[in-house]
Each structure stands twice: as C-alpha cells, then as structure tokens.
Amino acid sequence: MKTEKNTLEKPKLPKGFKVDPSLNVRYDDQPFFKDKLDRANYILKKVGLPKK
C-alpha cells in the first residue's frame, strides 16, 4: 500500500543541509540584488498578490 506524505509534517531539509544562523546578519549591510528587489516591488505594486 502506498503511503501518502503526511502534509502536517514539517518539511525537512534535504540530507546534508543545515542552517547556519550567523549568516542571517553577516551580509546585512551589503545591498545584494537591489535591482531584483526593485523589480519585485514594482511587480507587486502593479499587479498585487494572487487571489487565493
């Protein structure tokens, strides 16, 4: 019998991955991907969010 994935289970990181909390702040002062963020904000302002 095939068991369906329990969608109530928390998604787990793939094997070999771990979270390093120090990365949360390490690059805070560096404006990476600013152009992309500007484009995202433009899209969100123009189109909004999907209707669910």
Binding site: V19, F33, K36, L37, I43, V47, L49, K52
Partner: protein, 120 residues
C-alpha cells in the same frame, strides 16, 4: 564558486524576494547574471529550494517572490519547478506571473515571476 541566497523584505509585509548569485571571494562582488557553466544548474536549484524550505520554516506565513535576472534564468527556474511540481505542491502553493496576472503554476507556460506560499 560560493553561492549567495538572500531573502529580502519587499514593500509588502510578509513577502520576501528571493535572490541568488555567485560571490567572487576576491572582490566580494555578487553577480546574478554570470554563467559559471559548471553544468550543475539542477544541483544549484535544489540547494536554493532547500533554503526556501528552511526560510519558510523559520518565517511562518512568509510568501516568497522569485524571478530570474535574465529570461534564461527565469526559464531555468520554470524547468526546476516543473520537474518537482508534484513534490512542491504537497507543501506549497505556487503561482506564475503571466501577462501581469498571477495564475496557478502550470507546466510548459512561460512566466516572468513566481510566487510561493506554504499551504495552510
């Protein structure tokens, strides 16, 4: 080649923009357009997808918008999503932006951006 993945707050509360690219350790410069051509795009996308799981795990209720910096990259994202769509849809709702309208992601449709949110 070191990769950087960053989730940035957008102007909408609870919605973040996903960006990733290659970091030059010498210059510190980040590029999301360079092609490192290591034939590892699927592995890279799998890693980025793993960060998405981790991010939403630590930011309950967050939604994430993503788009490629070039059309080629946007198409690469689409391929990666399509390949794993059944697994993705177990946990997430995923939308594609087409003609300035969001719709539920469908395979083989050209989108300009993607939006992901965890299913309730």
């Amino acid at each position: 080649m070191r990769k950087i993945v960053r989730y940035s707050k957008t102007n909408l509360r609870g919605l973040y923009n996903l960006g990733f690219g290659d970091k030059d350790d010498e210059t510190g410069f980040i590029s999301d357009t360079v092609i490192t051509n290591n034939h590892d795009s699927q592995k890279v996308l799998a890693t980025v997808a793993a960060t998405l799981y981790a991010f939403i795990e630590t930011h309950p209720g967050a939604e994430v918008i993503a788009m490629g910096s070039t059309e080629v990259r946007t198409r690469l994202y689409r391929i990666g999503i399509s390949k794993n769509l059944e697994d993705i849809e177990l946990d997430f709702e995923i939308f594609g932006l087409k003609n300035e309208m969001w719709e539920t992601f469908r395979k083989n449709v050209r989108y300009t951006a993607y939006l992901v949110c965890k299913k309730p």
